[in-house]
Amino acid sequence: MINFSVPEKITNELQMAKMVAEQVMRAKSRYYDEHEHERPWEYINIMWPVLREQNRRQMEKSTNGKGPKREGPGTAILRLVMLVETLSWGDAGQYLCTPDPALGGAAIQAVGTTEQKVRFLSRFTEGDPKWGAMAMTEPGAGSDTSAIRMTAELDVQTNEWILNGEKIFCTNGSLALDESDGLVVIWATVDSSAGRAGMKPFVVEAGTPGVTISKKEEKLGIRASDTASIVFEDARIPFDNILGSPEVQRLDQATTKGFKGAMKTFDTSRPVVAASAMGVARAALEFTKDKLAEEGITVDYTKPQHALTAVERDILEMEARYKAGWLLTLRAASMTDHGRANRLEASMCKAYTGVAATWITQKAVELLGPIGYTQDVLVEKWMRDAKINDIFEGTQQINLLIVARSILGYTRRELK
């Protein structure tokens, strides 16, 4: 049944999130943009007690046997994307520093055993702020994750995995491994001749010898966000830190379960990234409209198109693209809540919103003329921040490829 109504519980939470976004994040937006490797502790310290309590309740649920199963569709992902949109409206870089298990936690939740969930995720229910992260990208393996070279070799005598290699562009990698008692889920191959089938996810905890943060990137935007390179030199982790089965199934390399499990986390994470993109876009759009209103320019939605000025038409176009991107995002999110497969829709919203947010924020800088380009206001920062959404969590092009394969009924064999 087509229904666009949002539960009151969520709209109330959004009110709270908006207060945090306005009073905590915005107040420090420029500061953390200019102090790249400092951490936004004001935001972190506000979020952590709330998230810790949520994690504790979730942990109780998933370990007392009642599990995440429940009757009928939920609203968890709808709530998530709406919160992310609002927090990113506040500041996308700070939002990315949210202390939570993040994609690492999602992988453990998706593939991990109960024992693993307790061992790895309990830390997020107590004590000081902690971060989880996922490390997939390597210098030679960006969109092509099958080119991952990092190795995991089993030492049968000690029953440990020995990790060697380098991971780059890991969001919150330093926060997870160096600056808190967190963890990173890394992807490594146990058999480089097996292609995707040999690739497995492993949990690496903070304090593991042989693991070092080798670089903290300096970026175009989202400068408050931690983007780290991690080097593994004979880093040893317990056998039980592997997520899923250690078996390498050579039968069908393209459709192995472990790899598919990892790709499945994208079905949620892509709408979340799309939501973040739309939050930044809305920030720029609202600011532009407010500034123009001060000059007496407001959009009259009842005017015919031939009566619109070029500026009014631009605003309309910005709003229309925001609306299109946001609705595509909400659709992908609500499909997960209803237990429906959403791979196509997740990639659709990701591909669209990356472009839309990039364009909307660029337009905002343009429309505000000499004001938009200065660092006295945040629009130029939002333009720099927005661009990442066209790149990470699958570039625009990778997501278009997924959409194209899906609508054409193709695999990677027909459409490279």
Partner: protein, 363 residues
């Protein structure tokens, strides 16, 4: 609860219209465009889905309640088959639905039952004016109050099937407000012009008409003494047109995918190339985004909420989307996209109309 999936009833409606398209429309629409005429049995079979009667309450002879969302789903499905046909099937609604939305009690009682029969009355509506600066909220056709009614003056265009209409809902400007008038087709001062020759929707006969001191009794003013909430009617029009545009674009998208998978060049289907495949992917995203905007506007209207902003953004987006997608459909077909034996050129001609169409459909 937030959900963007059709329920069972809605799926059944769309499925049955899709079957009608596959069995009847696909064979007929190209010839209809060439001949400038829709086969009567085709329109009749479309009417038999009972979309309009199922929107009219029981007290007026119908068997349902009005839903803009359901209307949008049906309109998309009909236009997926053929745009001219969808507009033809929806034409009784051009009068029935404004009466439902804004009519006085006696107008509802007088007109609505006549739409709940096997053969609906010949009715149509006239909103568009042949004017570069056309603005539905500031019409150049005027309505002047006189002692026992109104006097209408002006020129209208894009009036579907005006030549055979018993009643025409004519929109006119009364002191800066757009008002509606239910004008009998044979009223003195009302003259239907020549059939228009348009770039697209050629199977749908449309006419211009002129009004010279055309007298309308007071009881024929839509809503009687109430001032018309024209924005509400316009928004409903835009939902219907938006849904039709989505249907047309979807047809192009599906056809282009199918074509690209079968057209072999350089030893493999052209869909194997990213330059084609990415274009198709963007078309699919375009269509889905537009559909969601149509649904959101329709849903808001069904909730009785103000939807001016949503309707404006949606129409703005959809008008561009449908042209973009139809153009890319032609492009995907290469030379064959330009040949009339293939449907793409027809879709491009039809798609271009949406930026011009206002008040041509309401569901």
């Amino acid at each position: 609860m937030f959900d963007l999936e059709l329920d069972e009833e809605q799926k059944m409606l769309v499925d049955s219209i899709d079957r009608y398209t596959a069995n009847m429309v696909n064979k007929a629409y190209r010839d209809a465009d060439e001949e400038g005429q829709l086969p009567e049995d085709l329109v009749k079979a479309g009417w038999d889905f009972g979309l309009l009667p199922s929107s009219i309450p029981e007290e007026y002879g119908g068997f349902g309640e009005y839903s803009a969302v359901t209307g949008a789903l049906a309109m998309e499905a009909f236009a997926y088959g053929d745009l001219a046909l969808s507009l033809s099937i929806a034409s009784p609604g051009l009068v029935a639905l404004p009466i439902m939305l804004a009519g006085s009690e006696d107008q509802k009682a007088k007109y609505l039952p006549s739409f709940c029969v096997e053969f609906p009355p010949h009715v149509t509506a006239a909103l568009t004016e042949p004017n570069v600066l056309f603005d539905p909220r500031e019409l150049t056709t005027t309505a002047q109050r006189c002692t026992d009614g109104y006097t209408l003056n002006g020129v209208k265009s894009y009036v579907p099937m005006a030549n055979s209409a018993d009643t025409i809902l004519i929109y006119a400007n009364e002191n800066g407000h757009t008002q509606g008038f239910l004008v009998p087709g044979d009223s003195p001062g009302l003259e239907v012009g020549e059939r228009e020759k348009l770039m697209g929707i050629r199977a749908l006969p449309t006419y211009s008409l002129s009004l010279v001191d055309c007298h309308v009794p007071i009881e024929n003013k839509l809503g009687r003494e109430e001032s018309l909430d024209f924005d509400l009617i316009l928004n409903h029009h835009r939902v219907a047109l938006g849904a039709a545009a989505v249907g047309l674009a979807k047809a192009g998208c599906v056809y282009a995918c199918d074509y690209a998978k079968n057209r072999v060049q350089f030893g493999e289907p052209i869909a194997h190339r990213q330059s084609i495949a990415f274009m198709l992917a963007e078309m699919a995203i375009d269509v889905d985004a537009a559909r969601l905007m149509v649904w959101e506007t329709a849903w808001k209207l069904d909730q009785g909420e103000d939807a001016n902003r949503e309707a404006t953004l949606m129409k703005y987006f959809v008008d561009q989307m449908v042209l973009r997608v139809a153009d890319r459909t032609v492009q995907a077909l290469g030379g064959y996209g330009y040949i009339r034996e293939f449907p793409a050129e027809l879709w491009l001609r039809n798609a271009r109309g949406f930026a011009t169409f206002d008040g041509l459909a309401i569901v």
